[in-house]
Symmetry: C3
Subunit: 289 residues, 3 copies
């Protein structure tokens, strides 16, 4: 009989995420070890406790989840965790700070449902944030022509450079979106747009979106009005508006949640899985069938 499934939740925040905890329980975790305010120098002992306690087949019944609202801090923990592993002494680990990986994967998968990504032109508004930069990464991996939009061009260029290192063949353009006209132009010949900016900030006017003759899919990932893409409703779930398929944040949420749960389940199928954006996306693809 296999051992109880233990998920060690390493969270950067002063209170560990209840959201991630509930999802873990619903994914079948038997015991959740919740750690708050985890600092990189505390990771060693915590990971040792995970890898030195169970042997052989049982090792895969322990896994790690790294999260928290501070995405950069979570990423540092994730890197620290991976450095502790050695040889077969490792357990599976998933990174999903503030839901960034599962949200980005869900958004890109929903876009792919309606438009083949390979060769498509995809604009990412708010493309330098935690979710936006992951959306851009996934689009690039899937062979889309990616436009990374930001108010600051240097940041957009930095994101493009980082993605280029992961996917050398990627077609990437950094855009400084400092006026409605620039947005109109960026949308004019794009097939997909995903807005992943800060809550409560409109990134594209309704007119800018409607002016595009090529747009097929428009996805907004903000739940706080005004939304990033004016005219879209947070509840939209494949609703047609202005001749394009639209999704809002809540409409994407169901898919995100299914991917998150399935990832947690799969963590316990081996002791060497590492789930960052790309792997989370692959799990979502399996779910989509």
């Amino acid at each position: 009989m296999s051992k109880p499934r233990i998920l060690v939740q390493l969270d950067c925040d002063s209170q560990p995420s209840v959201f991630d905890g509930v999802v873990a329980v619903d994914a079948g975790v038997d015991h959740l070890f919740r750690h708050a305010a985890v600092a990189p120098d505390q990771v060693r002992e915590l990971v040792y406790g995970a890898i030195f306690t169970r042997g052989g087949e049982d090792l895969q019944s322990t896994a790690l989840f790294v999260g928290g609202s501070d995405v950069a801090a979570s990423e540092k923990l994730f890197e620290a965790v991976k450095k502790i592993f050695f040889g077969p002494m490792r357990v599976s680990v998933m990174l999903d700070p503030n839901g960034a990986n599962t949200t980005a994967a869900a958004a890109v998968l929903l876009a792919a449902k309606h438009r083949e990504l390979k060769g498509a032109t995809a604009l990412v508004l708010g493309g330098t944030g935690p979710v936006g930069s992951r959306v851009a990464r996934l689009f690039a991996m899937e062979g889309a022509n990616v436009r990374v939009g930001s108010r600051r061009k240097d940041r957009a260029e930095a994101v493009c450079e980082a993605i280029g290192k992961r996917t050398p063949a990627a077609a990437l353009t950094a855009l400084e979106l400092d006026s409605d006209e620039v947005v109109v132009a960026a949308l004019a010949d794009a097939e997909i747009v995903i807005a992943a900016g800060a809550p409560g900030v409109e990134l594209a006017s309704e007119g800018a979106r409607q002016a595009s003759k090529s747009l097929e899919v428009a996805i907004d990932l903000s739940a706080v009005p005004p939304l990033g893409l004016a005219g879209i409703d947070a509840m939209d779930r494949a609703n047609e508006r202005d001749g394009m398929i639209c999704y809002g944040a809540i409409g994407v949420g169901g898919t995100k949640m299914k991917i998150h749960k399935e990832c947690i389940r799969q963590l316990f199928t081996a002791n060497d899985l590492v789930f960052d954006a790309e792997e989370v996306y692959r799990v979502g693809q399996q779910l989509a069938g």
Copy 2:
């Protein structure tokens, strides 16, 4: 099949209460998410995690418990929690800081077992503390003539005023108990007395209690000698002394515990229950049959 029951314990103290945790487990909670040192500004994310993770029927398998030894701080958390809920996006929540609600409910229910509360005169010693003020609230709700005793009249008056807002028809008297004679007079024509003062402080002498011709029930809620009502034993459980039914803190404890457990159980029967003193008392009434 319903989801595992998750209770999110929001505790003000630097270590979350083990007492509340054990009771939760014994009430059938499957997963306890324990949060210590919770501040009001952390409540939003924690509650979002509870209400945005499960849908439909499953939502009632998540609930919140607010506690801690600092009753005022816990009440602030409780208010903060209720403000986050909106429309159907809510889970059931119970407030029981330092056991104040369950203890007050148990004491008043035990008094009601031996004397009809409606029309009875009930003196509450230590009536301005967390337990005493709740005992007075419950007596008022049940139609007793309530005497709220305190060393400071302004505090007793403040408690009466607060209760009057909840129960406009309540018969309330604020008493400044600054001498044995005042206590003797307050007891002389009372049928019920409950002492809910600070541990180790005698609030009524044995003589004062014995001098009353009308007293039928005397309940002391302190476990640290000297007790609030001299001559009562902490183990008393419906013992007759001086012609009146007596209860001590430990004698009340069994009833308190049953009420606490049943409340936790009932939290999971709906997603919109709010258990403060009055609701906890109603649950206790159901148990008493």
Copy 3:
């Protein structure tokens, strides 16, 4: 039906030990209440929550575990816990800071497998640290002639004095190990040597060990090279080297883990067990049959 087994983990560290948590789960604990950064003045409320919530037979389904990497701080917590108990109001408690008790018990039990302890001369290198001083305690309890080696004689003497109070009949010698010659002499007529010093510090050269004509068992408890006993491998598990039976830290680890788990299991068989080094060792003896 018995109540779910609750283990309250009181840990001195800022993050509670994952290691101790996984072992607890694998020993059949149903609910683990993990407390980090526990200070002695917080123990009272935590222990009250453990002893005042379940009655009769059910009380033994709650137990306490005291641990953490700071052994001295853990010992203070352990003492504080025991002082809170009174009469039958107690639950079983185990002390195992940084694994010191289970490691020391495992090492001494493995030595006893190959050489009768009574009358044997046993040298403990690093004999004043948390593990070493416990190894010396157990050897003394079992009637060995114990040599407590340290770089500082005053510390070695303090350990001998403390053991002498527990086991007045013990044969104890404090050794100041300030040169290879002293180590050679201390090993020359010893049958057992256990090295329990700081990680990465060699305490006996290979030559010193090989020069002994009497050594039968050599056990090293460090996992970080260079090991305390040169020439031993951390993976050694009853390997013969230079005519003596050798164990390394990882070779001892399996036995340590079995003892740790069995101790946790036994905690729930009564409500008054107190597991410090001696009791942990007795549990290990039962396992060894």
